[in-house]
Symmetry: C4
Subunit: 274 residues, 4 copies
């Protein structure tokens, strides 16, 4: 939907996942280093978390598709308008297609973690979902005002960056650097969707931006970098808090969990198999 | 050949191979996991399958070359038309060149699996064949109507994506994720060739598409993504069926093949050598 | 600052680091090969060197930011000029943003080497800092004279090349080839900043270059390659001198350090963990 | 030199090396598989071959530089023509710069194989030499006739492809697939230089090509692919002959070299260290 809500909804989706990952991956990393703590919960817990993630992703995508199709002036699943002899609300159909691939990714997440499909497919499918999103965006803004094009092109950096990260994770699964890099790019994408909403459809009803001013373009580029600096800062704070909490818990938990130490070591190995 | 058949033939070629691979790779993966089942057939069988694949590829390429050269208004192997002082049917020659590299790839397939040339060359040669196809396509559509250019540019994504996958397989041979990724891109390429045929040369004789309508371009881009979603779905169905059939067979086969278990384990190792 | 100093300062920053690395990495490599020599100092020494590097980087970035903000006709931290209804000194803000990311990289350097954050993050952060620099530069020169654009585009090769090297080092940490490659690109970037200063703002007050002469562009491209040849030469000289000094020292040091040999071997292993 | 000789000389250089490598790498591969044969000569022989290669490369580069500088209407090492107030024969200087980097690569070859500089630097330096060549070419043809630009752009594919191969070889040294891939690209580059010479400066004095005919461009693109098919064929023939000769020799040599078998195995390991 080409309005504020139409950018705020996907923005919230990406922010939600970005923030959750900024807690999950540091936690996973800390647990891996201190195998004894949280032992009982950790392996099965992360497995369950992945499945829930998949379900949330699929549900969000479904809401997105339904929202795009059934808003008052939406296409209502009709692709071609025979009366007007033209395609019917193509933008909504494009957005639905983007959501569709995230929905597929959610389903693949559930399948890989609940059945014994190779786990690497969840990363591949996310990579494809991001790629398709970027692909559609790339041809989406053809021939519109300079600022509108530029603000979406900037988004493409985050989108294709994320797609690349996910693709690399197919081969280096569990690499904390890649995981946090894509988390930061996800947060960036989410906050940038909100920014686009504010710039192109100011909800306060304020004056619109001059879409052909070169200075606005320069500012927007810089603003994008600030968003990223903010995403990195957020990630650093979450990382620190999570690591610190795990260390506190570890001190309290040490004595009683000593006996679990040996068995945990053996099962750890099987985590990385693809 | 710039007509419906000229797009349907390569489309069928890619679909044929895509569908076959969508059965072969899940089967191979399932057999690797359950070494006992299908043991006797598997190693030698897959070897023979590779050789047959190479032969089919080479024969298809030969048919393609002969078709391009000897259709009524084809070049009949004459490169330069001295009367008209111009190159003779350059498009047919370009298509022949594309087929030629697939033919070479077929020959290399046969050589690597029948003699002891390093097997990695089959992947490299396929990567080069795809790359040459994309390379020729890229310079092929220079200066034609917007929709024609766009519909071929979309194809380039699948082509170069496949080339990249094959190149990565030189280094990560037998990676199920890469194998299925390229299979999906192959199916996409095949079904998209058919789509191009239907759009540019409607066989039903219906009205032609408006080749300069921006909305048609947007629709075509989205349609491409739907083709890919369809290719992924097909792959998922085939994967599920194959895995399920192997599991059924495994249950029945267990007792009598127990004795083959040990020897199979040893020979398995030699498969990955390059 | 769009003047000679504004290019000489970052140029010196890059040259300083480039030259230091052209000594550090050959030294590290030589020490790794001759474990006995410099043993006591080496591990702890390099650790301390990394932290000092981080501090110097952060301080340089801070100086850069303050310089950009508080020069007489700078923005003084004011982003929007409400009187003139326009953004306030956007270029200085862009430069500040570039410095900011190097500052963050400096902080991450300190954190990774002083606490137990995974060390790979220092490489990732440098890669991001370089990428952001290149990203801002890319949109920076839009719509200016041909020579100005070209001279900055050339710089982008070094910048994105360095970003790629650092990113690869996340996965191949301690690879001497990558380390020296990025060192050479850093020196190139530094000396090229000086060159830009001399070409665009001749400090001697000489005649300006004709910014639209095609021959000047061709010369500048070639000149860039010469800078790189010079950077490689410098690297080769430093490499030779350092290796030679280490070998001299080794000969003198051999007898008395023999006893440290065994322990050093064991600790060496832990260096590569991420 | 913008004439036939100026393209034939580098073409011969690339062809020479391409042909030599098309013998060397299959030979090396065959020797590695049949360690006993050619044992005495092989290791030391290949070492010596690398050094001679480096010397030949450096000498060729030197001849190229001298030729570009001291032909009758060359720059004679004078960079700026103060009389005419313009750069002096920039093209010759650019070609000299290209040769310079190949010269540096030759020197690095000699150093890495004669002293104990890490061997991976020879690949890196060749990658840089190719990259610089491509880089200069890319800005070289700016603003000339369509066919001239296109015929050089095609060359860039081979050049950057080779640069990428060499860069990958830094990490996967001794990978036969990469070695033969770059050999084929080298042969392609060499034969294409000759082709450029024949097209742009027909030595027979025949009629020039129409440089703005779209059909000529399409033919040239296809012709480029045929050159590559020819390069692959040549490689295949050489590979077959070499492998066959080694096998013949092996049969004769078997009995008397059996005793060398054990020692050869141990030294083989040290080859891959970087």
């Amino acid at each position: 939907m080409a309005d504020f809500i139409g950018h705020a909804f996907p923005g919230s989706f990406f922010l939600l996942f970005g923030l959750w990952w900024s807690v999950k991956f540091p936690l996973k990393h800390a647990c891996r280093k201190n195998k004894k703590v949280f032992y009982l919960g950790s392996k099965a817990g992360f497995q369950r978390a992945e499945i829930i993630e998949g379900i949330v992703k699929a549900v969000c995508a479904l809401i997105g598709i339904l929202g795009e199709q059934f808003i008052p002036n939406g296409p209502h699943l009709k692709l071609y308008n025979y009366k007007a002899q033209e395609w019917n609300h193509l933008k909504n159909w494009q957005h639905s297609t983007m959501y569709l691939f995230y929905g597929l990714s959610g389903v693949v997440d559930i399948l890989t973690h609940a059945t014994n499909v190779p786990v690497a497919f969840d990363r591949l499918m996310m990579s494809l979902a991001e790629f398709v999103e970027g692909y559609l965006f790339y041809f989406h803004v053809h021939g519109r005002a300079m600022l509108v094009v530029h603000i979406h092109i900037l988004l493409l950096t985050a989108i294709f960056g994320t797609a690349l990260c996910f693709f690399l994770e197919v081969f280096c699964r569990g690499n904390i650097v890649l995981e946090l890099l894509r988390t930061s790019l996800f947060i960036l994408q989410g906050s940038w969707f909100w920014q686009i909403g504010f710039v192109l459809f100011p909800p306060s009803g304020g004056p619109e931006w001059d879409q052909n001013d070169h200075n606005n373009m320069m500012f927007i580029t810089m603003c994008y970098c600030w968003h990223y600096a903010f995403a990195l800062l957020l990630l650093a704070v979450n990382y620190t808090v999570v690591t610190w909490v795990v260390r506190i818990k570890m001190k309290g938990a040490k004595p009683m969990e000593m006996e679990l130490l040996k068995t945990s070591g053996q099962e750890q190995e099987s985590e990385d198999e693809i």
